[in-house]
């Protein structure tokens, strides 16, 4: 096979994956939009009546309902909403009377920073566990790591969050367990990516405060993922350690730790990277309850408030955004897999 044909085969495989996945992604997003729209409209209680002060007349309610389009038939309402969404207009929040898109985009950076920090912690913890487990495989230390992995995986992020609150918020209060940043601080930020901006502006005092707030919720999200990473990476590493080229490296006189880090890790990493991509999309779903638990001002916390306040347009916008993030991440993982996996590439 010539080099040119090979690139074409690669391109064809990638395009095929891209086309089918884009199509299913669109179906998924449309399904999510339909379901969320109609499910939340079964909610008893008129959101407009909740907005108005007691003593509002039927007429007031009718007038405000008309303003938000809530007096029209459901299917018409859906048509109006979805047409708006396709043009980038997600409607107006009932409780705050601000555009949904502005509200959601204002909170998204906080959630993304939290999720990415959790991912970094998970990779660091899981990677370390896998390396130590491989280095001391067959011994007591590997057994201890397996048990820790098992417990970390069995218990969900919500409970880890509570455990961390007790340990590092009350018993040994070194981290903040509430909020995103100390409220009294004067924030010079122009974007909502506080952590990134504080680093760019070299305001390391603010960075430290942000990290002290984020670390606990991020760690709670990271623990189950770290266990998954640790388990899979250790398994791949141990398999790689028996391959010929690793034995060759050993006979050349490299130490065991060096062999693991320099030779085995690179080859063992691919399955883990794919898994991390998929698991990361689940982690983003987990931010909803973790943000609530730590009063962290992100998208998830806003979502729960929106449900409690019956803010229908805001709920729709947030759910759709979460679904978009989830499907896009999965799409990227599939594409990366198509590009990186030689079997699929030449198949």
């Amino acid at each position: 096979m010539s080099g040119r044909q090979r690139t074409e085969a690669t391109d064809n495989a990638v395009i095929k994956v891209l086309a089918t996945r884009l199509l299913t992604t669109l179906v998924t997003l449309a399904g999510v939009a339909v379901i969320v729209f109609f499910v939340i409209r079964v909610v008893p209680g008129n959101p407009i009546a909740m907005m108005l002060p007691p003593g509002a007349t039927e007429e007031d309610i009718a007038r405000l309902s008309a303003l938000y389009g809530l007096d029209k038939p459901l299917v018409t309402q859906f048509g109006i909403w979805i047409t708006g969404v396709l043009q980038g207009d997600f409607g107006t929040s009932i409780t705050t009377r601000q555009p949904v898109l502005d509200l959601v985009l204002g909170r998204l950076p906080a959630t993304l920073e939290l999720a990415i920090m959790a991912l970094v912690i998970a990779v660091a913890l899981g990677g370390t566990a896998a390396l130590i487990g491989t280095r001391f495989r067959g011994g007591k230390r590997e057994g201890a790591i397996d048990i820790a992995n098992g417990v970390a995986l069995s218990v969900p992020d919500f409970l880890w969050g509570l455990v961390l609150i007790l340990l590092f918020g009350v018993l040994w209060p070194v981290f903040h367990i509430s909020g995103r940043v100390t409220p009294s601080l004067d924030l010079p930020f122009t974007t909502d990516f506080y952590l990134i901006e504080s680093l760019i502006r070299l305001r390391l005092d603010l960075t430290a405060d942000l990290v002290a707030h984020m670390f606990m919720p991020a760690l709670a999200l990271a623990i189950p993922l770290a266990a998954i990473i640790g388990q899979l990476l250790k398994q791949s590493l141990k398999e790689t350690m028996n391959l010929d080229y690793v034995t060759l490296a050993r006979t050349k006189g490299y130490g065991e730790t060096q062999v693991i880090l320099r030779e085995a890790l690179r080859n063992a990493a691919l399955p883990t990277i794919t898994l991390v991509g998929v698991q990361f999309s689940f982690l983003i779903g987990g931010t909803v309850i973790i943000e609530r638990l730590f009063s962290y001002e992100g998208l998830g916390n806003m979502a729960i408030d929106a449900v409690i306040n019956r803010d229908l347009p805001l709920i729709q916008g947030i759910v759709l955004l979460f679904a978009l993030i989830f499907t896009m991440l999965n799409l990227i993982v599939d594409l990366l897999y198509a590009v990186l996996n030689p079997r699929l590439r030449h198949g």
């Binding site: 969900p156 509570l162 899979l232 983003i284 638990l293």
Partner: protein, 288 residues
């Protein structure tokens, strides 16, 4: 691609069944007994308030009130009694929601994996759509729609978690359907439904059993999360989640209000999952 996505972290853990199986079963048995005999075992009425006995510490600390072993919450309610009565709600949710979720999910998965064709296309698309919802937000949304209460929680869990069963069972039914024994049964002229129920289903039962055990642990957590967000059962009823929610607000004054329900919940979830892992190692060639 399919193999990368199907890799659930849990299925990668291989360990021997042993003490953890018995420890988990032991803890869950204690919980079952406590739940069954709650009115006789609990030292106090779980709802009885006594403002003069608010935030009493557990028995080993100074200032503890005799008879209130694990202390009291801010309304003076006995923490131990509330834990015992809370076990009723937790286990009821685990058993009922777990079983119904299992029935719905496994049936849909079996139909999709065995019948293939348009049935599979519809169910697979539904699974994709469901997976794109953040589960916690979805459950909170459903409770807001259905109103609080035990039945709503159970419906919410079934509606959200059926995909866990459907995904695994579908893949496994597809693998079994490609095997020789299924083609022989087809050649012998057996009806398809008969093959599905008599030949394929029995081979999937161990897998389904393990998933069911894991799902029960998840159901307990979902109930706790929903009570925590205050959308679960009416707030008067003692549930572990509402105790945790209350403990979270009083954490600096009365840590025990949070710690004991947290330990209980932690052990219960761990037990369900370890029981599942233990059963997997013993009986299930598929997930192992």
């Amino acid at each position: 691609m399919a193999d990368a996505k199907g890799m659930d972290g849990r299925s990668m853990i291989r360990r021997r069944a042993g003490p953890r199986l018995w420890l988990s079963a032991g803890w869950l048995s204690i919980l079952c007994l406590a739940a069954l005999f709650a009115p006789w075992v609990a030292p106090h009425d779980p709802l009885a308030q006594d403002l003069f006995l608010g935030r009493m510490p557990p028995f080993w600390m100074a200032g503890a009130e005799p008879g209130y072993w694990l202390g009291t919450d801010s309304l003076g309610r006995d923490v131990l009694s509330r834990l015992i009565h809370g076990a009723r709600v937790a286990l009821a949710v685990a058993l009922i929601a777990g079983t119904i979720t299992c029935l719905v999910g496994a049936t849909l998965g079996l139909l999709a994996g065995f019948l293939r064709g348009w049935v599979d296309i519809v169910i697979s698309r539904l699974i994709d759509i469901w997976m794109a919802f953040p589960p916690v937000l979805f459950s909170i949304l459903l409770i807001a729609v259905l109103g609080p209460g035990l039945v709503s929680i159970i419906i919410a869990i079934v509606v959200i978690d059926w995909t866990r069963f459907a995904r695994v069972v579908r893949a496994e039914a597809m693998a079994q359907g490609a095997m020789d024994y299924v083609s022989s049964a087809q050649v012998a002229g057996r009806p398809r439904i008969g093959i599905m129920l008599r030949e394929i289903l029995p081979n999937l039962l161990p897998t389904i059993g393990v998933l069911l055990t894991l799902e029960m642990g998840i159901a307990v957590i979902v109930e706790a999360i929903l009570s925590f967000v205050n959308l679960s059962i009416s707030t008067d009823d003692p549930t572990w989640g509402s105790m945790i929610a209350e403990g979270r607000t009083a954490i600096h004054q009365a840590w025990w209000v949070l710690v004991f329900p947290l330990i209980t919940l932690f052990l219960t979830v761990l037990s369900f999952s370890q029981l599942g892992e233990g059963l997997k190692d013993r009986f299930d060639p598929v997930l192992r």
